[in-house]
């Protein structure tokens, strides 16, 4: 808790044996006036009370959780829904004609409708529940892959997460298609000057991230989707990092498919969402075979069920899907407007303070309004993994590594970065704790 340490101070108020700040949690640290105060569009103190894990202590410190791009914490309402579901409703869905199964089916299908509304999709039949964003992207790549011929091209970007790269590599290899990439500029934006030459009549699929999990860059999806459609390509948006921070409107984005993970939007692990335009989904080959996705099974073949069930083979993560409902409720209740302004304020403040440290290489756009969620950086002396180990000792949880974006790191001549990523329960105190801990680490290794 370095919140009482004035910005720029070179010595933290107290030091442990290693020169690391080791302040006990003081009650004032969780007073709402110390956390962004009246200027925040979110009542962060109230929000924090909804997240039991945030009162946990780590190595004797308050937990400063800045690993939200990896997974977000869960509000009580989500835990309560999970618990209540298993205590009162748990049953397998769809084919049951008993009370529990009817209730479970209703809850599951209500969440599908809720998710459709959340995406501003008009038809819930376009919503397929998967095991995660990775599962969604693999389903999509495999199914769209059936339409690829040798020489066809798939256009990705240099800033994609491995989950939006490797599935396409696998189908490209299988179908003899080529993978191409929109490069990124030095300041972490897509180099759209190259779009004209990259998008050709060979381009069948364009798949790109809405928000980079490393750079934080918010991509201009609509413009790219329009250009892709102009050459007849299908457009998939990886909204794993977008959904937590931005209201999603699949019509406005102009995409054909969109994926995200529940666990990055306050929901449980093991649930993903794949939205596909229903008339397109209707024409897609099934991905996995099994229970519930068939119409009729013969001894050596089968016909497929209607969408979206055709794409949900076997028993889905019923409890997880049901608990996605209150997670979406929670963000909708706060409102994406307030979430966005809070996010921008904290990114602005964090960029400022990190720049103030001097010497850090900070990736991504310099303008905070062009980015959201994550800030990745590299210190010339302290290796990201050492940094994160030292930060952890002060209760500050960040992530170090390539963040499943090796090609992007290679682009910048880096193997790894440290990444701090923020969400609705983070505030300036958290940023101050981060900065103070980096200062300690620098003194330690310098």
């Amino acid at each position: 808790m370095a919140s009482s340490s004035p910005a720029g101070s070179t010595k933290p108020p107290s030091q442990g044996p290693l020169g690391l700040a080791t302040h006990p949690l003081r009650p004032s640290d969780i007073r709402s006036d110390s956390v962004e105060g009246a200027r925040s569009p979110l009542d962060v103190a109230a929000i924090r009370r909804d997240f039991p894990i945030l009162s946990r202590r780590v190595h004797g410190h308050r937990l400063v959780y800045l690993d939200n791009a990896a997974t977000t914490q869960k509000p009580l309402v989500v835990l309560e829904r999970l618990n209540h579901y298993y205590r009162s409703t748990n049953a397998n869905i769809h084919r049951g004609i008993h009370r529990l199964a009817e209730e479970a089916t209703a809850l599951y299908e209500e969440t599908r409708e809720h998710t459709a509304r959340f995406l501003a999709a008009t038809d819930p039949r376009g919503v397929v529940f998967t095991s995660g964003a990775t599962g969604a992207l693999n389903l999509l790549a495999s199914s769209w892959g059936h339409w690829l011929r040798p020489g066809d091209e798939i256009l990705l970007t240099e800033m994609e997460h491995h989950s939006n790269l490797v599935p396409w590599f696998l189908v490209a290899r299988e179908r003899g298609a080529q993978v191409r990439h929109i490069p990124v500029t030095e300041d972490g934006r897509l180099d759209l000057t190259r779009l004209g030459e990259l998008l050709t009549e060979r381009t069948r699929i364009v798949s790109l991230t809405q928000v980079s999990n490393v750079l934080g860059t918010i991509n201009p999806i609509r413009a790219i989707a329009d250009a892709a459609h102009a050459v007849g390509a299908l457009v998939s948006v990886d909204a794993a990092q977008g959904a937590p921070h931005h209201a999603i409107d699949v019509q406005a984005l102009g995409c054909d498919a969109l994926s995200f993970s529940a666990h990055k939007v306050l929901g449980p692990t093991g649930v993903g969402v794949l939205w596909v335009k229903p008339d397109l989904l209707e024409r897609m080959e099934p991905y996995q075979g099994g229970g519930e996705m068939i119409r009729e099974v013969q001894m050596d073949g089968a016909t497929w069920a209607e969408i979206p069930h055709r794409f949900e083979a076997g028993t889905p993560n019923i409890a997880g899907v049901v608990a996605l409902g209150p997670a979406l409720d929670y963000v909708e209740r706060l409102g994406y407007d307030a979430i966005g302004r809070h996010g921008e304020a904290i990114i602005t403040y964090a960029l400022d303070r990190l720049r103030g440290l001097g010497g850090l290489r900070i990736l991504g756009p310099t303008d905070p309004t062009e980015r959201s969620g994550a800030i990745a950086f590299a210190d010339p002396v302290v290796h990201p993994h050492d940094l994160s180990t030292v930060l952890d000792q002060e209760g500050v949880a960040i992530r170090a590594g390539h963040h499943c974006a090796q090609p992007l790191h290679r682009r910048y001549g880096l193997v790894a970065t440290a990444r701090a990523s923020f969400y609705i329960y983070n505030d300036r105190d958290d940023v101050d704790a981060l900065v103070a801990a980096i200062e300690s680490a620098r003194r330690y290794f310098g």
Binding site: R57, H59, G60, H383, P384, T389, Q393
Partner: protein
């Protein structure tokens, strides 16, 4: 988890002993060899870091060793210690040393016949399981570079 809450508190000095930091700040054995007998690239897949190990062998003995590590303080320090300790020993001794380092990371009883010297300072890495690979990166890479891989290793 409550019982675990404070277990690792202040273990940091176990990890970053002064001698480790010293090797990190001034790594030994970086100078390239003019006529290496063998050189191998190592890779830590859990972080992407890389190491280059080259050596000259004279008969049965490792004469010179070059280590260039692009990695965290643990991997750099471990490689630096290796560069300091290995030259002048014969291959069988080096193999024994490699086994001793691996054993230390697995918490095995130390082999009394092997002098770990500065390497003792890496014993604390054990308590940070994700960093064990860092400490071993140089050694597993060296192992690949040694002749007669079909030995007891």
């Amino acid at each position: 988890m409550a019982d675990r809450e404070d277990r690792a508190h202040l273990q940091l000095d176990d990890l970053y002993r002064e001698v480790v930091l010293d090797h990190y700040r001034r790594p030994r054995g970086r100078q390239p060899l003019s006529h290496p007998s063998c050189s191998v690239e190592g890779f830590n897949p859990s972080c992407g870091d890389q190491i280059h190990v080259a050596l000259t062998i004279d008969g049965d003995r490792v004469n010179e060793l070059q280590v260039e590590c692009r990695g965290c303080s643990i991997s750099v320090a471990s490689g630096s210690m290796m560069a300091e300790m290995v030259p002048g020993h014969d291959v069988a001794e080096v193999r024994r040393l490699i086994e001793a380092v691996k054993g230390m990371m697995q918490g095995k009883e130390p082999d009394p016949a092997v002098d770990l010297a500065d390497l003792e300072a890496l014993a604390g890495v054990r308590k940070f399981p994700v960093r064990v690979k860092c400490a071993l990166l140089a050694w597993t890479t060296l192992e690949e570079a040694l002749p007669g891989i079909s030995g007891p290793a």
